[in-house]
Assembly symmetry: C6
Homo-oligomer: 297 residues x 6
């Protein structure tokens, strides 16, 4: 409906376009169409072409592209392997969300990103959470396995991982040592509590269990990458070459994914706009309340 009033170039494949906008609302799609028309107009085109739609989608989600950021060849290579790491690890894990595309085009603070198809899952179990954590650590694990060196670029991944691991142990009662307890406070009263609701000893146990859980997931990510290092490299090289690669490309490298991810997707009548973006983050410099990472001067 939103697409009709625009003059479309022949290369616009509505099926492909639909796959790139999972869970978009009508308003979101209208927005993309307007943006695509503007993009085409700026380039003095008579028709709105496929690339204009892709650019528009990217602008809506990731903010306007900033090509002004200078990234050296060596940095580009690290980013490619980092993103390829996410893709490879998540491909090999049964419960990791299905990938949509991987890109090393920088947007905002992000230097690269892996896009996943959001699943509307109502219940999550330990295996699923561990697979997600492992996939999130896949980026840094790839840097480690390939270059033997790790970087500050995984800040975002580590923050997410740390929070998820703490939630498993402290909120969801999914850790054996801490047991079937939840220190989650749905009443919102704990906002005013100036103390941890447990003793230092319990705090120590929680830290240890979170540490074990995350290190185990990290080692699992490294094992997967070591076992599939050749495919990781193919993927990274394609990324360096094309900058954006899609699910089709992944299937060409890895073959059909063995897990029944589509059955869930097909069930869905309604898809949320939630998507995970495993971004490889540039050094933070504008953020003034983090005065530690002044590393790029």
């Amino acid at each position: 409906m939103h697409i009709r009033p625009l003059k479309l170039a022949k290369d616009v494949d509505l099926d492909f376009f639909a796959k790139q906008t999972p869970g978009f609302s009508g308003a979101d799609i209208a927005n993309v169409c307007n943006e695509a028309a503007l993009v085409a107009a700026r380039k003095n085109k008579q028709e709105v072409e496929k690339q204009d739609f892709l650019d528009a989608i990217d602008r809506i989600i990731g903010g306007l592209e900033k090509r002004t950021k200078i990234i050296s060849a060596q940095e580009k290579k690290i980013i490619a392997f980092h993103e390829a790491g996410h893709a490879t690890v998540s491909w090999m894990l049964q419960y990791a969300a299905p990938l949509v595309k991987v890109t090393i085009v920088p947007r905002g603070k992000s230097l690269g990103a892996a896009w996943y198809l959001p699943e509307e899952r109502q219940i999550t179990n330990t295996d699923q959470l561990l697979d997600e954590i492992t996939a999130t650590l896949g980026g840094r694990a790839a840097e480690d396995v390939v270059f033997g060196k790790i970087s500050t670029g995984a800040l975002n991944d580590l923050e997410r991982t740390t929070k998820q691991a703490y939630a498993m142990v402290v909120y969801y009662g999914l850790n054996d040592k801490v047991g079937n307890l939840s220190y989650y406070d749905s009443s919102g009263q704990s906002e005013y509590s100036f103390n941890k609701p447990y003793s230092e000893k319990t705090a120590e146990t929680i830290d240890q269990e979170v540490h074990l859980l995350v290190e185990k997931a990290y080692n699992r990510a490294k094992e997967i990458l070591t076992a599939h290092k050749d495919k990781l490299e193919q993927l990274a090289n394609q990324l360096l070459d094309k900058e954006v690669i899609f699910r089709e490309d992944l299937e060409r490298i890895f073959g059909q994914r063995p897990f029944e991810e589509h059955t869930i997707a097909e069930n869905k009548e309604n898809i949320s706009t939630d998507e995970r973006d495993e971004s490889f983050q540039a050094n933070i410099t504008e953020n003034e309340d983090v005065n530690y990472e002044e590393s790029d001067n």
Copy 2:
């Protein structure tokens, strides 16, 4: 009185209706009747039927049904066993509150619920509190016993259990190690206290005792479910089949409950509107102050 002015269908059984609304005030009942009339009107019915009343009751209590939530077949099965776990464990425990109905119809954040008849109990002893905690843990215990896997869906149960266990140990003086002490402050002054009123060593003892108490209750729930696994399965299957089952159905499976629960109920002249809802909770996503459980993307 509130029901008279409405044109009732023949299937409206006032006795059954009364049992579904324990402790409702006059205002609540008026509200249900209005809602039922609206429900019937929306369906262009001439009469208000039994189902309209049931829908109205559900709307008043659980919010409008949201059928838009997608729940996979596997998830539905987990929810059914979780709720059947609450029902089975509470049926087998002398001091657990009597069940009214169990449902796996999602409402709001809840994916399923077990409804209990509220008892106006003035005094509560250790045995009663332990039975309640055990029944609350029955949902997760069923997931554990049947699937060998536990999920994030018990968040609500664990939070309730944790708070009750701490209250036993820290407020009610019901723990041997901590002894006949209460750190409850009825004066409300402790609101401004930024410190725990006891030493770290005492905090540690409290954590250990709460841990032991909860783990013991969890194991007891698992033992009950293992011993009655066949009935648990019958119940879960009926739930998957019918979505809502009532006390009558439970009695058909388990036989008459041996405990004298009705003697207390008969004594009552006045029933409060308090009811317990052991809900199996969907992943929380809207709640912005919990940034840990972003597990469904």
Copy 3:
């Protein structure tokens, strides 16, 4: 003076009435008389009778009777033994305050109460404090000795006991280990202090000493009750029978109290309105900042 203008029934014994209102001010007595007249008027009596005065006194002190609270026979029995426990233990301890009446008529949150004659004592020593703590623990100790089970009903007693024990150790310098030190701050400046004024090690010692002190008092209460179990039972049975019993009844069961409690009372020219009410408390449900004790649903 306040009693004159009212038309009094013959059964009004002014001496008895005076004993029930120790330490009442003139204003309090005027209030009682007005209330008694109202009570009589509501019952369409021509004269104000003894019972009207008793009801009036109770209303002034304990709030209006709420007969709507449902208490089961078993609960009534527990309450009776709890209150009889307070009465028995305090009767047997030299320094416990003299009892005035014991009741199991619920009022407000209280399910029962033991009333004491307030002593205007200027100086309090260790023995007196320990006797008071022991008497306060007498209620729970009776539940323990008679039923082998303890309940949440002692919350109020335990809070009082805990605070008194901490005051002995932390404020009054009455503990050998902590010594002749007082962390009491008469200047009121510590209100703004966010830290305990002592080290964690001292906090630990304080907790241990308070624990020992309270457990010792609790065991002493149990020993007294075990030694006088027959009298405890007589008292509890009379309470179940009559709901309120007075000092005269206690003397019929226990005989004259051997301690010289009256000598102090006789000395007094002026009696304060202070009285202790060892209430057996119903489950707290309205109190919203205590979300732990949701035990009655």
Copy 4:
């Protein structure tokens, strides 16, 4: 000057009067004279007598006498020995301030008091501080030595002692273990510091040293009282007899004090209004932020 305009009775000894008002300002003295005139007027006297002045002085300093407080004979005895304890210990210690009078007449919250001549001392050393602490503990020590029982009446003494001992260790660098350090902050900035300025380990050392220091002083006070028990008893008996005793009475019991206290006093050109009042405190009941000491009901 202030005394002239009043008509004085012959028994008014200006010398004696002067000794009772050490360090009074001109305004204070004018106030006393006015008050004395009022006291005399209330008693319909033609002249202002010695007793009127004494009453006026007491009113200015200790507030109006409240004779309504009931004190039993046993309590009176304890108070007398407590105050006699202060007097005896301070008499025997070289650096304790010289006594002016001792009284067991209650005023405000105070049940008795020992009055000292203020010294304008510019420098205070360890010996002087220890003597003062020992004298302050003399009251409780006397209760302990004579009755074998201690009471809550020393709250005020212990608070003062505790603060002085902490100041020696934490502020004045007068403790060997803590050493030549001062955690005093003259800049007032620590007001906003929410943490102790030292580690838990240091806090522990401080607590231990304060404990040792105070217990040592307490034992010293007990040794002095045991050695002079006969004089302590004479003094207490005189106090019970006369209620107020002066320096002259103390000299009759103990003989001339061997220490050169007057040399300092004679040096003085100007005396401050500072005086120490070692009061034996009644149970605190009005003070609402201390809900621990409800011991007198």
Copy 5:
């Protein structure tokens, strides 16, 4: 463009000038030109000379020169070696930023400074961070190696080093013991958290690891300086002689730097105004919230 309207002296080398203003915006350059014109005007010159531009650049960046600060010959020598230490260590480390100039002319609180060419690095790895920390510690290390004495002048360097080391361990997951965890909170919510988000045990591990990391870097700096002590001395002597030395001077002493620093610079299309200034700081005396360093009276 900005330079045209001014009458330039022959000695103005635009190439040299450009090298001194890396990453300056158009506005910055306009500012420099205006300032240079003013400087020349104040000296009654007809033309704007090279020195006027250099002065203008310094004024824009470091504030107006304050020649009023008295620095003794011995202090001047320490400052020279401190700055030469930064220069020497950073020259010898592959990942330290390239030096632009070193100066011992005091400006504001700074007594000396080393200027670096800012790199727009998007990703930073462990080796790069360690090289930067080592270079930052090079100033103090030089004082240590040459004089065997260290001073308060490294306050600024140590603060920067400490923050960077903590960021590596606590935020960027670059420490083996703490592991792949990040306690960084991008949501900004931790601003209101009054507690460390981890246990004391974890805090201890973090402190130990930061300590090890920094001491290792400090020893590495000392080793580099010991190995190149002769060049360090040449550099310090030139600094004492000329006060400001440029990259050309460094190359004359050390020879061409072996690392491929220019390749990165050449890649750049756009250079930020970020530059690092390793200043040797004078004793802070104006800063009123630091009442510790009153060391110069």
Copy 6:
């Protein structure tokens, strides 16, 4: 300039006067001159004499003299030795600031003071800080060595010493155990931090190192005083005799100071008004937020 318009007595030695006002601004000197004229006028002098200038200088700096404070002969002796201790220790230490005068005339809260010539030092090293701490502890050390007793009069000295020692260890990285770290926060953000930025273990290490550092300095002060006890006594006696002694007097006792203090002073073009005043402090009684030191009543 400021001195011309006044009629000067012949004894006014402008050289001597200049030495007494190091670092005074023009405004300060004008102030002194006005004050001196007033002083002379009050004494009905025709000319302004040397003593008037000295009195004026003292008034400007130390506030008006208060001769009303009573100081006993014994106290005077302690003060004299305390001040002589500062003077002796600082004379013997290479890096202690040069003395200008020592006085035992009380001013404000100060009972005595040692005045130093302020050095404008830009860089401070460990040796200089240790010498300053040792000189600051010289006053108490003298009390200890001479009388074998220490007093509360060193409060001010200890506070200064404690802060300086902590700054060395926590801010300036001058302690081997804590290492090259600085917990100083120049951004001012830590103002809102409610926690120490390091673990308890680190806090413990810091306390131990500060303790060792201060005790070592204290022992060094005592050793110096023991070695020069005869000169200390000469100095104290002169102080008791003359109340104020100047640098010339010190040189008569100790001989020319061996250290090259003047070379620094001569270098200076500009001298700040900063001067250190090691005061021996009277008991604090007015300061209401310090309720510990009520030691003089």
